[in-house]
C-alpha cells in the first residue's frame, strides 16, 4: 500500500473509530439525525417507487394464483355467511365476559407510518416516515394488523424514527402463553425469537399464541408476539425454552402502526 493511501486509510479509520466510540455523544447523535433528515424524503420517495414496482411485479407473476385464490375465497365466503349468525351470539357473550373481567382495553391511539428504509439482509431494524412532529417518541410500541408486535421506537427523529424489531438481540418482552398461561421472556436472537425463562415444571403447548404480559412495564399487555414452536427441555438447564414462530415476515411489511398511548 502506498504511503499516501495508508495516510488516507488511517485518517478515515480514526474518524470512523471516533464516531463508533463516541456513538452516544451529542455531536455524533445530532450529526446522525441531521443526515437522517436529509435522507428521509429521498428514502420515502424511493420506498414508494419500490412499493409500486413490487405491486406490479407480484401482479404480473401471480395472475394464476390470484385467479385460483379468488375461486377459493368465493367458496369460503359462502361458508362464512352461514357462520356469521352463530358468531353474533358468541360476540355478545364475549363482550359481556370481557366487561366482567375488566379485560377491555382503553382507547388506543395509533399513528400509521410507512417503512422507508431497512438494514442490510436482516430484520433487526428499519426506519419509518414518522417522527416527533407526528407525536412519536422513544419507547413506543410498533404493531401491525391484528395486534401483532413488530418492535418499538428506539430513536425518534423529527420526521423519521428508527424501529428496533423483536428480532433484535436487544429486544426483551415479558410474555405469557395464551392458553396455558405460562410466563417467561421473549428475546430476540438476531434471526429468530426465543421464549426463555420458562419455569422448569411448566411446559407450553406447541402452536399456542405467545402474547406480551405487560409485567415489564415497557410493552403493552396483549400484543401477539408469535406462536410457540419447538420446546426445549434439558436437565442441564435451569429453565425450559421454546422457539417462537413469527406470524408474519417483517421484511414484507410496508406500513406499521405506532401506539402513541395505551393502557399498560
Amino acid at each position: 500500500m502506498r504511503k499516501s493511501i495508508l495516510i488516507i486509510f488511517i485518517f478515515l479509520f480514526l474518524i470512523g473509530l471516533a464516531a463508533v466510540l463516541f456513538n452516544q455523544s451529542r455531536p455524533v447523535l445530532i450529526f446522525g439525525r441531521a443526515i437522517n433528515e436529509v435522507l428521509r424524503p429521498l428514502e420515502s420517495a424511493a420506498a414508494k417507487f419500490k412499493n409500486i414496482f413490487s405491486f406490479w411485479q407480484d401482479a404480473f407473476l401471480n395472475v394464476k394464483n390470484i385467479k385460483e385464490t379468488n375461486i377459493r375465497l368465493s367458496r369460503e365466503n359462502l361458508e362464512l355467511y352461514g357462520k356469521i349468525a352463530g358468531l353474533a351470539e358468541l360476540e355478545r357473550e364475549n363482550a359481556l365476559l370481557k366487561k366482567q373481567a375488566e379485560f377491555s382495553r382503553k382507547g388506543v391511539n395509533t399513528v400509521l407510518a410507512e417503512i422507508i428504509g431497512r438494514d442490510f439482509q436482516s430484520n433487526r431494524s428499519f426506519i419509518v416516515a414518522a417522527g416527533s412532529r407526528d407525536g412519536i417518541s422513544d419507547g413506543m410500541a410498533v404493531i401491525t394488523d391484528g395486534n401483532v408486535v413488530i418492535g418499538r421506537v428506539i430513536d425518534a427523529g423529527l420526521g423519521a424514527s428508527k424501529i428496533q424489531t423483536v428480532l433484535d438481540t436487544q429486544s426483551r418482552i415479558a410474555a405469557i402463553t395464551s392458553q396455558t398461561r405460562i410466563s417467561g421472556l421473549a428475546r430476540g436472537l438476531g434471526t429468530n425469537i426465543l421464549f426463555d425463562l420458562i419455569a422448569k415444571n411448566k411446559q407450553p403447548e406447541s402452536d399456542e399464541l405467545l402474547i406480551s404480559s405487560g409485567t415489564d412495564g415497557i410493552w403493552p399487555r396483549g400484543l401477539i408476539i408469535g406462536k410457540v414452536g419447538e420446546i426445549f427441555i434439558s436437565d442441564a438447564q435451569v429453565f425450559n425454552t421454546a422457539d417462537v414462530l413469527p406470524l408474519l415476515n417483517i421484511q414484507e411489511l410496508t406500513e406499521v402502526f405506532i401506539i402513541t398511548n395505551e393502557s399498560r
Binding site: L12, F13, I15, G16, L39, G117
Partner: protein
C-alpha cells in the same frame, strides 16, 4: 476549472453518489433477501481500477450514510474501509487481472470478507454490550451469500465487458 475546484467537484460527486446509493440500497434493495450490496461492488470496481483513494473515501462515505439510523454510526465505515484495505493488499499480492475467473474469485473474496468483517463487528459489539452474540450461520449459511457473490461477479464482469474466453492479462490502469 482550476485544481481546487476540480477536486471539490470530484469529492462532491462521490458524496452525492454515496447519498443516492445509500437511499437506493436501504429503500429498494434491502427489502429483498437476495439483495446485493452495491457498496461492495463499487469498492471492488474502484480497487480493480487502482483508484485506491477513491475506494477509501467512498468506503467511508457510503458506510456512514448506509448505516446511519441502522447500526452504530461509523461502524459500517470501519467495515468497508477495512474491506478496501484488504482488497488493495490482495490486489498487490495476487495481481488481479480482468480475466473472468479472476473477477469471480475476487468478487467471492470481497463478499466473504465483507460478511466476515460484519459478523466480527456484530459479535464484538454484542460481547461488549453483554448480549447474545449473533450466529455465524446467519451471515454465511444462506442463499444470500451465493446470490451476492454471483451478482457481484456479474456486475463487475458487466462493467468491464468481460467474456470468459477473453485473456487481457494483468490490469494496466
Amino acid at each position: 476549472m482550476n485544481k481546487p475546484g476540480k477536486n471539490f467537484s470530484i469529492i462532491a460527486g462521490w458524496a452525492l453518489g454515496a447519498l443516492f446509493l445509500s437511499v437506493f440500497q436501504n429503500s429498494i434493495l434491502n427489502p429483498y433477501f437476495l439483495a446485493p450490496n452495491l457498496a461492495v461492488i463499487i469498492i471492488l470496481f474502484l480497487v480493480i481500477l487502482k483508484n485506491d483513494a477513491g475506494a477509501l473515501v467512498f468506503s467511508f462515505a457510503a458506510g456512514f450514510l448506509m448505516s446511519v439510523g441502522y447500526a452504530p454510526t461509523g461502524l459500517s465505515s470501519l467495515i468497508l474501509l477495512s474491506l478496501s484495505a484488504i482488497l488493495i493488499m490482495l490486489r498487490e499480492k495476487a495481481l488481479f487481472s480482468k480475466k473472468a475467473e479472476n473477477i469471480a474469485v475476487i468478487a467471492a473474496a470481497a463478499v466473504i470478507f465483507y460478511r466476515l468483517l460484519s459478523w466480527l463487528a456484530a459479535y464484538g459489539f454484542a460481547l461488549i454490550r453483554g448480549q447474545d452474540p449473533e450466529s455465524f450461520g446467519f451471515y454465511f449459511f444462506n442463499w444470500g451469500l451465493f446470490a451476492e457473490i454471483i451478482i457481484a461477479a456479474a456486475a463487475i464482469a458487466l462493467i468491464f465487458k468481460i467474456k470468459k474466453t477473453e485473456k487481457l492479462g494483468p490490469l494496466n490502469v
